[in-house]
Amino acid sequence: MAQPLEKQQAKPHLAEEWVGRIYTLLCIAFLILTIVSIVYFVASKGLSTFFVNHVNVIDLLTGLKWAPDGEPAVFGALPFIFGSFSTSLLAAAIAAPLGFCASVFMVEIAPGFGRKYLQPVIELLAGIPSVVYGFVGLSVVVPFFRDVFPGQGVGIAAGAVVLSIMILPTITTIATDALAALPKGLKEGSFALGATRWQTIYRIVLPTTLPALMTGIVLGIARAFGEALAVQMVIGNAPHIPRSLFESASTLTSAITLSMGNTAMGSVANNALWSLALILMMMTFVFVFIVRWLERRSKL
């Protein structure tokens, strides 16, 4: 008597189970399809520079001159690669200490005020559109650098300053979470041994949360690496490796956004831009793998 009753009850649950399973499966399949087709699209466009137009890969990666309209056309993307790395690393170098100190303040020094007021304000920075950052950079940072330092104001320094503010929320949020997740016993043990607050922070808190902090920094660099509009507005966009931080330079993203709409699909100039996009995408993969590797380390 009891058995058929149980079966009747089990049926709707079984159906729910299957509906849920199929629905999530469809979602993940769609997601994977999207990612794979984006990778395929960028790669097929980017690689045709080498296979269809017969541009040498080594020349593209190490060449110093970018003249897609020249006679003959030359595609040397090293200035863009250099620009992308230098702006995003410099941005991380500026933002990392700021972000870490802010999170120490919010978690260790003034938890009430910090988490209630400071954290939302910093997270607000993440919601500001990049064109606003670019315009502020062009109207405030560039004229300031032009007046204070020799040079034109635009350049890697201006780009790095704008980017550092853009990636500050990423670094701060991850650092704050890592600090908050630290077991209380570690700090209490340190205090019990007579260490001061500062000694505890930089002898105990900093080393134990370092992998998480590094994750934040790498994610910040990845964001800075991919940012296009704000950087394009303040960096000057000359396709050369600059001689100073205050001289017009270019990044991979700014080169793409400047010319993509103006070149006809399928032309060499257009394909070369897709090759830059491919380099950009490969770098993003590298950053993702670094983050995964850091996360594994932090669990040990």
Partner: protein, 315 residues
């Protein structure tokens, strides 16, 4: 570790696959039917009774310099023809030409002749409709102390032979070039008609695509020189004469000032009835004498000279 390796393999495989599938790629794109060809289907024998019977949709893509004009004109056109929907998208001259050539859009807006961007056989399929003219002028920071430059002086500046304004009779200031990206239609026009040759991307030169940014930088940076369409000129910058000729609408129209270009609207083959009606509307006095002038372009009808793709000028 295993999962990461698997993920990496998938990515690598995709890239390799992409490399192999090169040739299939083109045929796949070409075989997909043109999506926006609804116009001919809906135009029943309406040719007798004009305008009122028009319906269907048009897609115009391309040049951002031409966008404001086409957008404003399309709104007026749609007000007069309730059944018509016209979409105008920016994206650059190259995009506009590619899309109209591949049948993805009905009209491709461009700052340059199709022959300058597309292969000759593809360009030959397109029909040119010149709807307006844009004049361009060299502009400088107000304090450089120069108000006229010859062609040779401009060439010297943009190829880096002259680097200080005092060599051109101005104040002792370093010349700061604010250029456009090498793919830009504005730059192509300036190089072709003002310099007569290609310019170099010099070390330290600034490149900006948007006219607003160029104007801001020229107005703020000491010693700066750039070039702008006549509609963007204002008090924050100084407009230079070219070979002694002032950059005015009249001088462009009568042919004494040579730095100008047509704004093109291309169709693939002869335009459909709806596209033709819209292009005729663009060229009508209602648009040419009002919106075109108001937005800072020069009406194509006002031009006393004509120019072909090779730059040959006829009266």
């Amino acid at each position: 570790m295993k999962k990461t390796a698997l993920l990496l393999m998938v990515m690598v495989l995709t890239v390799v696959l992409a490399a192999c599938g090169q040739n299939n790629n083109n045929s796949g794109g070409a075989s997909s039917p043109a999506p926006e060809s609804s116009a001919p289907a809906s135009t029943t024998p309406a040719s007798e009774s004009p305008a009122a019977e028009l319906s269907g949709s048009l897609l115009a893509t391309g040049s951002s310099a031409l966008l404001p004009l086409v957008e404003q004109a399309s709104k007026k056109f749609m007000d007069g023809n309730k059944g018509v929907s016209i979409q105008v998208q920016a994206g650059g001259s190259g995009t506009g030409l590619t899309q109209v050539s591949e049948g993805q859009s009905d009209i491709g807006n461009s700052d340059v002749f199709a022959e300058e961007k597309l292969d000759a056989d593809k360009a030959a399929e397109l029909v040119d409709h010149q709807v307006a003219v844009v004049g361009m002028a060299a502009v400088v920071h107000p304090e450089v102390g120069v108000d006229n430059l010859t062609k040779q002086q401009l060439v010297d500046i943009f190829t880096g032979k002259v680097t200080n304004w005092k060599d051109l009779g101005g104040s002792d200031q370093k010349i700061q070039i604010i250029n456009r990206p090498s793919s830009s239609g504005t730059r192509a026009t300036f190089e072709k008609y003002a310099l007569g040759q290609k310019s170099e991307d010099l070390q330290g030169s600034i490149q900006e695509d948007s006219s607003g940014t160029v104007r801001k930088l020229v107005g703020e940076t000491p010693g700066a020189i750039g070039y702008l369409a006549l509609s963007y000129l204002d008090e924050s910058i100084k407009v230079l004469k070219y070979e002694g000729v002032e950059a005015t609408v009249d001088n462009v129209a009568n042919g004494t000032y040579p730095v100008w270009a047509y704004e093109h609207m291309y169709t693939k083959g002869e335009p459909s009835e709806l596209a033709k009606a819209f292009l005729d509307f663009m060229l009508s006095d209602e648009i040419q004498n009002a919106d075109v002038v108001e937005l800072g372009y020069i009406p194509a009808s006002q031009m006393q000279v004509k120019r072909d793709v090779n730059g040959t000028i006829t009266k």
